[in-house]
């Protein structure tokens, strides 16, 4: 008998009390919780909640986006900049940094200062960015090894709350939900930002009429 047969056999024996005709759909889950906990201004809420994690958040119009990104990069003293395939070329600013593109080795990524990406979605209530390795985001290692992640979020990508995000996302893609820079509370439950993932996170929200 294989371990698989053993485990499945034990499960079936353990569930002898469950009526054989109880169908899988018989016990519907009550879903009377809210679809969203956000009030009207979802973009403003997103900005506020991302900033709560001690990430830097800036809003910019589409016209100003490139200059805003340039300002953040210059302010962070960036010398090497990873730009994933599919990142909108009109948003990549010129500057004193060397631009790195795929194919990249882990060593190259480890040595890079900053990665500049788009995202799949933003979640307002939790201040979360979701990456799905799509165009402009790159494979997962790109947003992991550089110490600084600058992420561009278009206002229309921001959904209100977790249920909307889950409905939108493709469970077949490798997903990373990012809420602020990496952090630990392992030492006396004091929160420290920055352990293994990027220690600083900048978010640029691109929006027609920014409320700044």
């Amino acid at each position: 008998m294989t371990a698989r047969d053993t485990v499945l056999g034990r499960i079936r024996a353990a569930l002898a009390d469950v009526p054989a005709d109880e169908a899988v759909g018989d016990a519907p889950v009550p879903r009377d919780y809210r679809r969203s906990h956000a009030e009207a201004d979802e973009v403003g809420l997103f900005a506020e909640r991302v900033a709560d994690y001690r990430a830097r958040v800036v809003q910019a119009t589409p016209e100003r986006a490139r200059a805003t990104i340039a300002g953040l990069l210059a302010g962070s003293d960036v010398r090497t900049l990873v730009v994933p395939p599919g990142f909108p070329p009109e948003l990549v600013p010129e500057g004193p940094w060397r631009r790195l593109e795929e194919p990249l080795e882990p060593g190259d990524l480890e040595a890079a200062d900053t990665v500049l990406t788009t995202c799949r979605a933003g979640i307002a209530v939790t201040g979360t960015i979701v990456l799905d390795a799509g165009p402009g985001q790159g494979r997962r290692a790109l947003t992991l090894l550089p110490d600084h992640h600058l992420c561009v979020v278009r206002a229309e990508q921001i959904v209100a709350d977790v249920p909307d995000a889950v409905a939108l996302l493709d469970p077949g893609r490798p997903l990373t939900f990012v809420s602020g820079p990496s952090a630990t509370s392992d030492i006396e439950l004091d929160r420290v930002e920055g352990v293994h993932g990027p220690r600083s996170l900048d978010v640029v929200i691109v929006r027609e009429e920014p409320h700044v």
Binding site: Y33, H37, L144, V162, R173, T184, H196
Partner: protein, 490 residues
């Protein structure tokens, strides 16, 4: 031990709970560390759960999802196996710890590697995987900061979420300075005990291990039957490193972690972070399905672990313990845990959840004191995001402990009857307090080498066991009432 019991869940040679608890209560540093840490996290949790006015509805949805999944566990596991396999993963089944360890060891050996990086995982601690790998000549590096502290300190975890909660910053600094060199990059010169500096030391120490590793071992917070998507919820990014950089990923997951639908995450991604770290969302959650060409590990193995879970499933009252999402909220609100810390529970699963899960995984006769490691105050039930009625299961297991002892010693019903009376006493805070004071007094009076003889009163038959250690001179409840004069626990 019956053949379907879990192995390795309890630490060999651990004393019973009362004895271990007494040692812990005598350590003022430990109690200070614990008090500070649990109070901090309790406040954070209350703040973020209070933000959601439908928290109760979310808990209800979480509990119903888990209840339903467990009732059809075989079907959902088969569906998961199918989805993962179709996406290029390989699914393995393990009936017990030895089986799981053998599977993982063979998989690592097949890669030709002699080291693995690990993401914090309760399941692999439960089966003693690191020790099994070591015997096979494979070194396992823990990469979660707290797990690293525990591993370098040759210590045991004492909390589900923050396993080094019993250590303060000065102790951590000392462990890093003393041990890091033996495991790889030594601690930087002039390391201070600032949490920031300690986190930086861990970052540097682990960096080349991440870049070098070819094999990673992880646990899983959930796996979706319908889609084959597996997920890890974490904070530091060590999880992302392990899930992304190596060529081979081996995930060990308890069979109860399966969820039916992708949509179920809309509930659990709200319940878990808020209950666990007390944040609206934890810094990183990673999900993946099988193998993604060009991104991440190109070999993925999912090991589905029983190790006593099916025995737990067979108990219609105790079954609910399998709904646990390991958020650790019940630990942080427990007055007993806050006094004793996690080590006293003698198992990888401490606190209220440990008190009901451990005896069920290993069989009540092997963890007979744990169901009594509680005042039944009910704070754990209120805090639990999936509404596990921990006091109900505790009371149920207490009766089973007595039953098991009776069966073993062929004592006719007397002890079981007395235990019923004792359960009634323990279920009533006021009567418990009287009985415990009596027991403490009696215990001191008759204590000889920490072993107490038969006691008068309602606990008489219960304490009529040769190995019962003397209770601490002050019971938890007496201590609690003395230090919380407002009666805050009732």
């Amino acid at each position: 031990m019956s053949p379907d019991s879990g192995t390795n869940v309890v630490w060999l040679g651990s004393p019973g709970f009362p004895e271990a608890a007494r040692t812990a209560l005598g350590d003022p540093q430990l109690r200070r560390n614990l008090r500070k840490a649990t109070a901090t996290i309790r406040d954070k949790r209350l703040a973020v759960t209070g933000e959601l006015d439908d928290w109760e509805q979310l808990r209800e949805a979480g509990a119903a999802t888990k209840r339903h999944t467990l009732r059809h566990l075989d079907r959902y596991l088969l569906r998961l196996e199918d989805s993962v396999t179709k996406a290029g993963g390989v699914v393995h089944w393990a009936a017990d710890a030895a089986g799981a360890n053998r599977i993982v060891t063979d998989l690592v050996r097949a890669t030709g590697e002699a080291e693995v990086v690990k993401v914090k995982s309760m399941a692999t601690q439960e089966i003693g995987l690191n020790e099994a790998l070591e015997q096979a000549g494979i070194r396992a590096y823990e990469t979660d900061l707290a797990e690293l502290i525990v591993q370098l300190g040759d210590d045991r975890p004492s909390h589900i979420l923050v396993p080094a909660i019993h250590r303060n910053r000065a102790e951590i600094r000392e462990i890093f300075q003393r041990e890091m060199g033996a495991w790889g990059r030594p601690a930087p010169d002039g390391l201070t005990d600032e949490p920031r500096a300690l986190a930086e030391a861990a970052r540097l120490h682990l960096r080349d291990k991440f870049l070098r590793a070819k094999v990673a071992v992880s646990g899983a917070n959930f796996a979706i039957a319908e889609t084959g998507t597996v997920g890890v919820v974490e904070s530091e990014g060590n999880g992302r490193m392990c899930l992304t950089l190596p060529e081979t990923l081996i995930t060990v997951m308890g069979i109860e972690k399966v969820l039916p639908r992708w949509q179920d995450l809309e509930v659990f991604l709200q319940l878990l972070p808020r209950s666990s770290t007390g944040e609206r969302m934890n810094p990183y959650t990673s999900t993946w399905r099988g193998v993604t060409p060009g991104d991440g590990p190109q070999a993925f193995h999912l090991v589905l672990l029983d190790n006593g879970r099916t025995a737990t499933l067979a108990d219609t009252v105790g079954r609910q313990a399998l709904a646990c999402i390991r958020c650790s909220a019940c630990l942080n609100v427990c007055p007993v845990y806050e006094r004793t810390g996690g080590h006293a529970y003698g198992s990888v699963y401490p606190g209220p959840i440990g008190a009901i899960l451990t005896p069920q995984l290993v069989g009540v006769e092997h963890a007979a004191t744990l169901p009594f490691a509680s005042t039944l105050c009910g704070a754990c039930y209120d805090a639990c995001p999936v509404k596990i009625n921990i006091p109900e299961v505790l009371t149920h297991l207490r009766a089973e402990v007595v039953e098991a002892k009776r069966a073993k010693r062929r004592v006719p019903g007397a002890e079981a009857l007395a235990m019923k009376a004792a359960t009634a006493v323990l279920a009533s805070p006021r009567r418990l307090s009287v009985a415990q004071k009596a027991a403490a007094l009696g215990g001191r009076l008759v204590s000889r080498k920490d072993v107490i003889g038969p006691l008068p009163g309602p606990l008489h038959a219960w304490t009529d066991a040769r190995d019962t250690p003397a209770p601490p001179t002050e019971s938890f409840r007496a201590w609690w009432q003395r230090t919380h004069p407002t009666g805050a626990d009732s």
